[in-house]
């Protein structure tokens, strides 16, 4: 569009493992050219986009460098960029270029339909107004329609009947079509279950230097795993030491742990108090553990249970890892057991990611984590109290739990009617079958004749002994009771009951469907203003016709027996439609006044 060409510094790799050749990547509308910095290098590239069948790139936030991978039929070109920003610019450009070349290929010849289809499906989200649909996209749409019956209904109603065109219908649902984002956004990435606690140091044999690799992801995991480190980070950085010093200290302590030299650790801790924080047992964790023990069911006797297991007996316990832990008692403080680490890791992994912030800045991560931890603490306290009250009550001394039974009390009939109210209107509707009037057209004489006949019939038969059958009488009485309970207490009494639920299912579904249709039409209607092209004005005309049709249908629904409730629901729909009609008329007049230039006094 605005830029016909993109030039970026990048290094080219033919394989992932390849160290890469630094150079300059130039992308134009139909091809990309790579020129290495070293003119003697053989890694020159000049590839046209129409050969490219797919493109991939690494995601920001992972530990991978910014790579763009363009692949054609038999090989792939990998470019490593200086930053993710460069990568994104190039990726978007490639996306557009591929879309164009894919279309061009389709238009010129249908020789390679599969590769073209793949291209369009991967360009994801770039839709042109009168696009030729690829098979993949068509399949996606079909699948969406099959999955969502409501969408299918709307599609049938508007697209098949010609109110909206296919592309108009889908234009408002780009999100659904973007299949990738649909599946990805649903799942949140949790922690890896591998032990990041033992960040393995890298040592090179020559120097006496230990290197730890640290990424924002690891920092975040450390904060989550070790509240004490988290706390220390908040207090110490950046007031007392820089972030770099902090992590150096932390890993020094980690290193001491990994050597399993408790004596050395104790000695170091005595010298440096900050270092001691990392070496000592995590105080916050310990208190949390104590709190957890308090939350255990109070009826559980831990002491008694201990007698039942054998883990504390020699030869039945779980030892750390074959090597013996023989340490003096005074250094116990500086020893961490594997089971502690495992438990903590498991707890954090299960808890999942609680913060959702940019991982680049450890400070914000630390604060966000603090926030989320505080919230969960309060609810946990409340839960503990509830638990204690639940557990400590002794059943024999308790009153019976009251069952929700409303007694029939003549003095206060409301309770009784309230209990009868639930399905009152629905049964009312079901029993309404008998009153349907027969279609019958008699002449005047016949009609009067039948009436006289009926009178003489009753004269001859007389009154029967039982006018009403007992079964009918009881149905009538039940119906009246339900009617009373439903009408008197129906509206506005119970906030949970919506008016919609009290309607019979058919009416309810009809109303909901109309509401969805109206929403769809209104969305298209308002989005086509201001009207700049004739296409838009015909579209608005079509939409208006469809809306006025629904308007009439709503009027018809209002004629039913539930006129009162239905009109409550229909009113906002009518109002929304009225607003649209009014705008349509006003706009039509305005445009008529503007186009009719020969009427000078046509004030709008």
């Amino acid at each position: 569009m605005s830029c016909r060409q993109v030039v970026k510094r990048a290094s080219y790799k033919s394989k992932i493992k390849d160290p890469g050749t630094p150079g300059v990547l130039t992308m134009t509308e139909n091809k990309f050219v790579f020129r290495p910095n070293d003119p003697s290098s053989a890694a020159k590239l000049d590839v046209e986009f129409k050969h490219i069948t797919g493109h991939k790139n690494t995601k920001e936030g992972t530990d991978k460098p910014p790579w763009l991978n363009l692949s054609d039929k038999d090989r792939s070109y990998i470019f490593e960029f200086g930053s993710f920003h460069d990568l994104h610019v190039c990726r978007d450009f490639v996306g557009n270029a591929l879309a164009k070349s894919g279309e061009a290929a389709k238009a010129s010849s249908a020789a390679k339909p599969t590769s073209a289809a793949k291209t369009t499906s991967e360009k994801s989200g770039v839709t042109l107004p009168d696009e030729q649909l690829s098979t993949a996209e068509m399949q996606l749409r079909m699948k969406l329609l099959q999955e969502d019956s409501e969408l299918q209904k709307l599609h049938m109603q508007f697209v098949i009947s010609g109110v909206l065109t296919e592309s108009e219908f889908w234009a408002t649902r780009k999100k659904l079509l973007d299949g990738d984002s649909r599946t990805k956004s649903k799942q949140r990435v949790g922690f890896r279950s591998s032990m990041i606690l033992d960040t393995k140091p890298m040592t090179d044999g020559r120097m006496n230097k230990v290197t730890f690799n640290l990424t924002p992801e690891i920092k975040y995991q450390i904060f989550a795993l070790k509240p004490a480190v988290h706390q220390a980070f908040l207090t110490l950085v950046p007031s007392k030491m820089t972030e770099k010093d902090f992590w150096t200290k932390y890993f020094r302590a980690e290193y001491l742990h990994s050597t399993r030299n408790a004596v050395a650790a104790a000695a170091e801790a005595a010298e440096d108090e900050e270092l001691a924080i990392f070496l000592k047992e995590d105080a916050i964790l310990a208190s949390e553990a104590r709190r957890k023990i308090r939350r255990v069911d109070p009826t559980l006797d831990m002491e008694a249970d201990q007698g039942d297991d054998y883990t504390h007996l020699p030869d039945h316990g779980i030892f750390r890892d074959g090597s013996k832990d023989v340490t003096e008692l005074q250094n116990e403080l500086y020893r961490r057991t594997l089971s502690q680490d495992l438990n903590r890791q498991g707890a954090v992994v299960l808890q999942g990611r609680t913060v959702d912030v940019d991982l680049e800045d450890p400070r914000t991560v630390a604060e966000a984590l603090m926030q989320s931890r505080r919230e969960s603490d309060e609810s946990a306290e409340q839960e503990r109290l509830d638990r204690i009250t639940r557990m400590t009550e002794i059943e024999d001394l308790q009153e019976h739990h009251d069952h929700p039974v409303a007694q029939l009390c003549i003095k206060d009939p409301r309770d009784y009617f309230d209990t009868q109210q639930v399905n009152a209107l629905k049964t009312l509707d079901d029993s309404r079958t008998g009153t349907e009037q027969k279609k019958c057209s008699l002449t005047t004489e016949e009609a009067y004749g039948s009436l006289r006949e009926a009178i003489s019939k009753i004269k001859s038969i007389g009154l029967k002994n039982s006018t009403v059958a007992p079964e009918i009488a009881i149905t009538v009485l039940n119906g009246l009771t339900q009617n009373i309970s439903s009408t008197k207490y129906q509206l506005g009494k119970n906030p949970q009951d919506s008016v919609l639920d009290s309607l019979p299912n058919k009416t309810k579904e009809e109303l909901l469907h109309h509401w969805i249709s109206i929403q769809e039409l209104l969305r298209h209607f308002w989005s086509s203003y201001p009207i700049t092209t004739t296409y838009l004005s015909t579209k608005v005309g079509r939409l208006k016709d469809a809306m006025s049709q629904i308007y009439r249908q709503l009027e018809e629904i209002k004629q039913s027996d539930f006129r009162h409730q239905v009109s409550l629901l229909v009113r906002p729909m009518h109002q929304a439609l009225d607003a649209a009609f009014q705008h349509f008329d006003a706009d039509l007049q305005k445009r008529a006044a503007r186009s009719g230039g020969e009427t000078p006094n046509g004030n709008s």
Binding site: L428, S431, R432, G434, T435, E436, Q437, K438, K439, C440, L442, T444, E445, E446, A447, Y448, S450, L451, R452, A454, I455, S456, K457, I458, K459, I461, G462, L463, K464, T467, V468, A469, I472, A473, T475, V476, L477, G479, L480, N483, I484, S486, T487, K488, Q490, L491, S548, Y551, R552, E555, D561, F562, R563, H564, Q565, S567, L577, D578, F581, D585
Partner: protein, 296 residues
């Protein structure tokens, strides 16, 4: 009237005006046969008269062309041809009803019958109110009157003004109009009548159990009603008929002077002769109309 029996008019004595729909076009197409309907109603009338010695029942037939009193329990004697199958008063009533139907048929003019076959409800309501007024004026002590419409045929919008006037006069004289509507859809007139006068509107779901409905809902006197929970209409169809074409309308134009209702914009009110909208320009009035009737 002697003073001794008039003392006995306690607050639970009722005067029940029953308006019986005898529209042949309705009953020939109804799912409930007219003979069954009549047997339920006759049983109900008997039980009303048995509830209290002083209870009084008047039956008015609402025909297609005319209305008539066909029974009055205060004047009819219990002597007659009691043939063992039914009480003498029922025989009398049926006799009068048959005569009425024949007269009603003779009144019909050929070719006048249109699509809507509505009964002359406004006429029978007026007759009932007249009878009640006579009872009111007979002395300070009288039974508590109420009107029960047993209607089946659909509303006749052309009777709108007459029926509304009857409803308002019933409201003024504190006479509740109960209505039991047997037709397929609800009757807007009767809903409004019962709503305005504080009566009960009921549309039986089980037509075969009509007697049960009548005796449960409509048998009790006005005094006892205060202690009962009777069915109430949830929503009332308040739509009016326009005065110009007698159509039932949702939205319309109202005369600001006499409150007449019109479905279209008129230059002059046909009821009171007020002239509207002279100052308004034509452009404004058309846009105003568009706003009110958006579906056109």
């Amino acid at each position: 009237m002697a003073s001794a029996p008039s003392k006995l008019y306690a607050d639970d004595v009722s005067l029940l005006m029953v308006l019986l729909d005898t529209n042949p076009f309705f009953w020939s197409s109804s799912s409930l046969p007219f003979s069954v309907f009549l047997s339920h109603v006759l049983t109900f009338l008997n039980s009303i008269l048995l509830l209290n010695q002083l209870n009084q029942v008047v039956v008015i037939a609402t025909g297609y062309n005319s209305c008539s009193y066909i029974y009055d329990s205060s004047t009819s004697t219990n002597q007659g041809s009691d043939n063992g199958r039914m009480p003498a008063r029922c025989v009398n009533l049926l006799q009068k009803l048959e005569e009425f139907v024949i007269e009603d048929e003779q009144l019909i003019k050929e070719g006048l019958r249109e699509g809507i076959a509505s009964s002359l409800l406004s006429g029978s309501l007026s007759m009932a109110l007249c009878y009640i007024q006579r009872v009111f004026r007979s002395g300070p002590l009288h039974p508590q009157p109420r009107i029960l419409c047993l209607q089946g045929s659909s509303d006749g919008p052309e009777q709108y003004v007459a029926i509304m006037n009857a409803i308002f006069s019933a409201q003024r004289s504190v006479v509740p109009i109960d209505s039991c509507y047997m037709g397929s859809s609800n009757s807007a007139f009767l809903q409004q009548a019962s709503y305005i006068t504080g009566g009960v509107y009921l549309k039986p779901q089980q037509p075969n159990g009509l007697f049960q409905y009548l005796s449960t809902v409509f048998a009790t006197d006005l005094h006892s009603r205060a202690f009962l929970q009777l069915p109430k209409s949830l929503g009332v169809d308040f739509r009016a008929s326009c005065f110009c074409h007698k159509k039932t309308i949702d939205m319309g134009y109202i005369c600001s002077v006499c409150l007449s209702i019109f479905c279209k914009h008129h230059k002059k009110c046909s009821t009171c002769g007020s002239v509207f909208g002279q100052a308004q320009s034509d452009v404004n009035s058309t846009s105003n109309k568009k706003r009110k009737t958006p579906e056109t």
